[in-house]
Amino acid sequence: MTTSAVTEKNSFMKVLSNIWELVKKIPPVFPIFFVLFIIVSLLSPTYSTANGVMAFLRRTAPLGILAIGQMIVLATGGFDLSMGSIVTLVCLVSSLLLANDEANTYPTIGLMLLLGAGIGLFNGFVVTFLKVPSFIATLGTMLAVRGAALYWVGGAPKGYFTDNFRMWGRGYIENVPLVGRFPIGLIVLIVVGLISWFAFHRTNYGKQILAIGDNVRAAKLSGVKVRLVRMSAFMVSAVLAVIGGVMIGGYGGVNVSIGEGLEMDAIAAAVVGGVLLGGGKGAVVPVVFGAYTLEILFSMLNLLGLPKPYKDSIQGLIIIGAVAYVAISQRKKR
C-alpha cells in the first residue's frame, strides 16, 4: 500500500506476519474480557443463559457510559472528578422534581441534561480560561455540585423515581427473538457508544481531542481551536455522567451516597481500556470493554466466593498493572 522499503518476502510468511501484525494491534482488553467471560460462564450456569448475560450487560451499562465520558476528558490530558457528583445530583434532584408524576419525567431528564452541560461548561471554562489544572478544577466542582445537590433536596433523599424514568436503567424490551428480552440500558449504552464512537473515531472532533492531548502546541499551530475542543470535552463528559446517572437511578432507591467514587471507577475502566493519563490515547470500544472487564472480574471473584471488599484490591492491582504494562512496553519500543 506504500512505497515500503521492506523487501519482498515469500508470500506465505507475509500473510502470517500480516496476521500477527493485526493480532498485535488488538487491545489486550478484548481477549482478557472473553477469557474471563468463558471462565465465569463455566462457573455459573446463569452466565450461559441469555437472561443472565443480558442482566450482566445491563448492570454494567451505566459504568460503560461514564467511562466513555471520562475517556474523552482523559484523552485531552485532563481529569474529570466531578462525574460521581453529577450522578448524585441527577439521582437526588430528579427524584425530587419527578414528584411521583410520570408526566414530569422527560422535562426532568431534559433539565438534568442541561444542568450537566452547564457543569461541563463551567469545568471547561475554569480549565481553559482560568487555567486551573483540571484535577483541581473538577475536584472543586465535585464538592460544589455535591453540596448543591444535597442543599437542593435538603440533605435528605426525597421522592421516588417514576416508572418511565426507571425504565431507562432497569427496563427490558420483552419478547426479542433469540435473547428473550433485551435490556433498555444496553440499548442506551449502544446508542451512546455508537454516537461517541462516531464522534470520536469518525469525525474531526475525536482526532482533534487526541491531538490536543498529545501535543497542545502542535495542535494549536495546526489550527485546532484548543479551548473550544477542550471545553466541549468537559461538556460531553458531564452530559454522559447525567445519562449514566439516570440509568443508575433506574435501580430505584434514593440515597445520598449514590454516585460517590464513580469517577474513580470510570477512570479505572478507562485505564484498563488502554487510555493513557496525560492524554493522546483513547478509543471508545476498548474503554467500554474496560468497564465490562472489571465487572466480569468482580462477578468471577464473587462466584469464587471471595468477600466483596477484595474487589477493591483486585481493581487496585489491575490499574497499577495496566499502567505499568504500558509504561514498560513503551520503554521497550524506544
Binding site: K131, P133, I320
Partner: protein, 331 residues
C-alpha cells in the same frame, strides 16, 4: 474590599517580603467575613469565644497533619491518594492491637508506623521504578489496602485504652494537646522543607526533574522518602482519629475524604500541583479556611451543605487566582 489597588500592592509586597503565601488573603477575608456574619447574626458569640476558636483548631488537626505530608509529596511533583486508607489501616490496626490495654500501646504504634512506612515505600518504588503515574499508583494502593482491611475488619476493631485518649481529648492548660501536635507537625514540615537538604532536593525534583538529575541529585530516592513521610503523617492522623473515636474502623478514612481534601487544602495553600513550589504554611491556611467555614456555618445554623458548595468554590477561586495569569495551557 474596594480600597485602592495601591494598598493591595503594598500588602502584597509586604507578604512577599516576609514570605507569607498569598492564601492568607483568603484566610483573612474568610475570617473577617465569618466575623462580620457572626456580629450581625449571633452578636459576636462565635468569634469572641476562645473555646470555639480553639475548636476551629481542633477541627483542623486530622486534616492538617496529613496535609503536611501531602504538601511534601505535591512539592515533589507527585500526589498521594492512598493516605485515606492508610488512615483507616492505622485506626483499625492500632485499636485492634491495643485491645483496650495500655501495655499494648507501644507495640501498636510501632507497628502502624512500620506499616505506614511500608505503604509509602511501595508507592515511591512503583512511581519511580515502574514509572507508573503517581495518581494511578496511589489510587491503586489505596484500593488494595481498602480491600484488605474491609475484608479483614468489616467493623470496629478492638478499642484504644482510656490512657490513649489523651491524644484526642487532653488539654495542656487551655490548649488541646492535639493542636500542639498539629503545630509541631506544621513546624516540622516547614523545617524539613526549608531547612534540610532533603527539602531542598525535593523542591528540585518537583520543579524540574531533569535539572535535579543534572545537579547530581538522586531523584528517585528523594521522591520515595517524600512518599514515606507522607504515609507516616497519614498514620499520625489515623492515630489522632482513633484516639478521638476510641476505636478504629475501616471507614474512618474515606468518611473524612482525607485524600482529596488534603490535596485541595495543599493546592489552595499555594502549592503548585505540578510541584516545585509551595509550603506547609500555605497548607495550614487552607486547612483553617475549611474549618472556619464549617464552624461559622454550624454556629450560625446555616445549612451545612452550603459549606460544601463554598469549599468547592473556594478551591476553584483560590487556585484560579494563582494560575489565571499563567501563559501555559492547563490540562
Amino acid at each position: 474590599m474596594t480600597t485602592t489597588t495601591a494598598n493591595g500592592r503594598g500588602l502584597k509586597k509586604f507578604f512577599r517580603s516576609v514570605s507569607i503565601p498569598p492564601v492568607y488573603y483568603f484566610l483573612i477575608v474568610i475570617f473577617l467575613g465569618g466575623g462580620l456574619l457572626d456580629l450581625f447574626y449571633a452578636g459576636g458569640q462565635i468569634f469572641g469565644n476562645t473555646a470555639i476558636m480553639l475548636n476551629i483548631l481542633v477541627r483542623s488537626v486530622a486534616l492538617g497533619i496529613v496535609a503536611v505530608g501531602q504538601t511534601m509529596v505535591i512539592v515533589g511533583g507527585s500526589i498521594d491518594l492512598s493516605v485515606v486508607f492508610v488512615i483507616s489501616l492505622t485506626s483499625v490496626m492500632s485499636s485492634y492491637i491495643m485491645q483496650g490495654e495500655t501495655s499494648n500501646v507501644p507495640k501498636a504504634i510501632l507497628l502502624v508506623f512500620l506499616m505506614g512506612a511500608g505503604v509509602g515505600l511501595v508507592n515511591g518504588l512503583i512511581i519511580t521504578k515502574l514509572k507508573v503515574n503517581s495518581f494511578i499508583t496511589t489510587l491503586g494502593t489505596s484500593l488494595i489496602i481498602s480491600g484488605i482491611i474491609n475484608s479483614t475488619f468489616s467493623n470496629w476493631a478492638g478499642s484504644v485504652p482510656r490512657s490513649f485518649e489523651f491524644f484526642g481529648y487532653a488539654t495542656i492548660g487551655p490548649v488541646p494537646f492535639s493542636v500542639i501536635i498539629l503545630f509541631l507537625m506544621i513546624f516540622a514540615g516547614w523545617f524539613v522543607l526549608s531547612r534540610t537538604k532533603f527539602g531542598a532536593h525535593l523542591y528540585g525534583v518537583g520543579g524540574n526533574e531533569e535539572v535535579a538529575r543534572l545537579s547530581g541529585l538522586r531523584t528517585d530516592r528523594v521522591l520515595i522518602i517524600a512518599h514515606i513521610i507522607c504515609s507516616l503523617t497519614a498514620v499520625l492522623t489515623g492515630l489522632f482519629i482513633v484516639s478521638r473515636l476510641r476505636a478504629g474502623a475501616p471507614w474512618v478514612g474515606p468518611d473524612g475524604y482525607y485524600d482529596l481534601e488534603s490535596i485541595a487544602t495543599t493546592v489552595v495553600g499555594g502549592t503548585l500541583l505540578a510541584g516545585g513550589k509551595g509550603g506547609v504554611w500555605g497548607t495550614l491556611a487552607g486547612v483553617l479556611i475549611f474549618s472556619i467555614l464549617d464552624t461559622t456555618f454550624n454556629q450560625l445554623g446555616v445549612n451545612p451543605y452550603l459549606s460544601i458548595v463554598f469549599r468547592g468554590l473556594i478551591i476553584v477561586l483560590a487556585v484560579a487566582s494563582y494560575t489565571i495569569r499563567s501563559k501555559k495551557e492547563a490540562a
